[in-house]
């Protein structure tokens, strides 16, 4: 029999890691929702974020939290470049061309990083890695707690940006009716640069956050991309808010099932949950049928 304390701990740690999944998923959802492009390299841009943070820490002693803006800006710039050089050319192409293009990006980034840094697993040992808070029987590792708070902050900031700013509203407008957006004087091409830059930048913040408490390695994007896809499908295609909640649900599902079944099957369980949702509510938990 598993004690209630264990369950409580598992739920809390699931929420904390899930909030990072949310960020990766939100980035994917943004790009998907606005451009109708599936970015298979999403997890690899996240990996770039992890490595920016790793090198900033290792070479210059920059605290991972302070490297968040750097990680965001580097991937944002790479994202805009990718949009201009690659994605723009396949925007109106058949879906198979788009898939090929972003899959090629995945290979280039992932194996480029492997060639440059070697396939090894690396860790950052921040000085506060072992600081633990206890609330009743639940214990919280400081880096994970910080990751949760930062991801919540980023998600909220992003939500407010989309809801209230002229640019945020214009981005959403572009996703709903491209022609009308042109007629409103919106520079659609620039909005797409912004969408791709922001989308990968947000995921890279997730990459920075996991680097403070989990190992990083060039191929890590594979695992997180899978999670991101589950998050997006689960949350309703293109729904950024839905992605946030779904990330947390998936994190909790994983960590609770690790407790009851077997840690090695936790991703299988997340995936089963995914299939179940597809069967029951194909538009996702928060999705609308039409786009």
């Amino acid at each position: 029999m598993v004690g209630l304390d264990y369950v409580a701990n598992a739920v809390v740690s699931g929420i904390l890691i899930g909030s990072v999944y949310s960020l990766v998923g939100m980035g994917l959802a943004l790009i998907w929702g606005i451009m109708d492009v599936i970015n298979f390299a999403q997890g690899d841009f996240m990996m770039i974020g992890s490595f920016v943070t790793y090198w900033a820490f290792t070479l210059a002693g920059v605290d991972p939290l302070l490297s968040i803006p750097l990680s965001f800006l580097v991937t944002f710039a790479l994202g805009v470049l990718t949009q201009r050089v690659v994605i723009e050319r396949v925007l109106d192409a058949p879906m198979v061309s788009q898939i090929t293009a972003t899959f090629a990006l995945l290979l280039m980034i992932r194996y480029g990083a492997e060639a440059a840094f070697g396939p090894y697993t690396r860790r950052i040992s921040v000085p506060y890695a072992d600081v633990i808070f206890r609330i009743g029987s639940v214990s919280l590792q400081l880096p994970r707690l910080v990751a949760f708070i930062v991801s919540l902050g980023v998600a909220l900031a992003f939500y407010v940006f989309l809801k209230t700013t002229y640019t945020g509203v214009a981005l959403r407008a572009v996703s709903q009716n491209r022609m009308a957006a042109y007629l409103m004087g919106i520079n659609v091409r620039k909005m797409y640069w912004l969408a791709f830059g922001l989308g990968v930048g947000i995921s890279a913040v997730g990459g920075t956050l996991v680097a403070t408490f989990l190992p990083i390695y060039p191929e890590m994007g594979g695992f997180y991309a899978l999670i991101a896809f589950i998050v997006v499908v689960f949350g309703g295609f293109g729904s950024v808010f839905g992605a946030y909640i779904s990330g947390i649900i998936i994190g909790v599902t994983e960590s609770v099932s690790a407790l009851f079944i077997s840690p090695s099957l936790k991703d299988v369980v997340a995936f089963l949950l995914f299939i179940l949702i597809i069967l029951v509510k194909p538009a996702g938990l928060f999705g609308t049928e039409q786009r």
Binding site: Y166, T167, V169, A170, R172, A173, Q176, N177, M179, A180, A181, Y182, L183, M184, G185, I186, N187, V188, T288
Partner: protein, 236 residues
Amino acid sequence: MSLLEVRGVDVFYGDAQALWGVSFTVERGTITSVVGANGAGKTTIMKTISGLLIPKSGSVIFEGRDITREEPHRRVEMGIAHVPEGRQLFPRLTVMENLKAAAYTKRAREGFEDRLEEIFSLFPILRERRNQLAGTLSGGEQQMLAIARGLVLRPEILMLDEPSLGLAPKLVLMILRLVRKLKEEGYTILLVEQNVYQALKLSDMAYVLETGRIVKSGTGEELLRDEGVKRAYLGL
């Protein structure tokens, strides 16, 4: 100098030619109509002016500047507003957000709040519905929002493509009255309206388009008296 001058444009969809050497002008402060049967090319003319389509030859001159190859968003910044056929709202944005999306350009953002007040006094129902999703509005309300969005753009020329399409007769009259009122307020309007009699009555100038060619032009009154126009478009 005319506000807008279209000079001999040939426009294609792929290999199919839709406009053949179309030329006409729009004078400041007037209502100009383009009249024609389904598929004559009326919408194509508007798209060529707003930059959604680029002519193969010929040119579009706005305030004396050649804008033939200018990008659509830059034309909006210059004051060209195109309220498209079928409304083309952002269905999952609220009424307010639709208006805000139209205030994206520097031009439109200047004095947006004041213009919003004017727009809400023209369309009180939009104020009431400002937090409702555009996709849930009635047809008439959607058309009002489409026009309102055009007004947010602070246009030098307002192009209205079939603004009363699909509306109940009472609403059709309301929209036509609004067009006249906008002219009185100093707007320049290029109008395509399937209600040809009403459109010609409103218009200072009108052009008749047949299969992509302008075949007749004159003041609204002249065309109302024209036997060919009477037969083809007024069912007389």
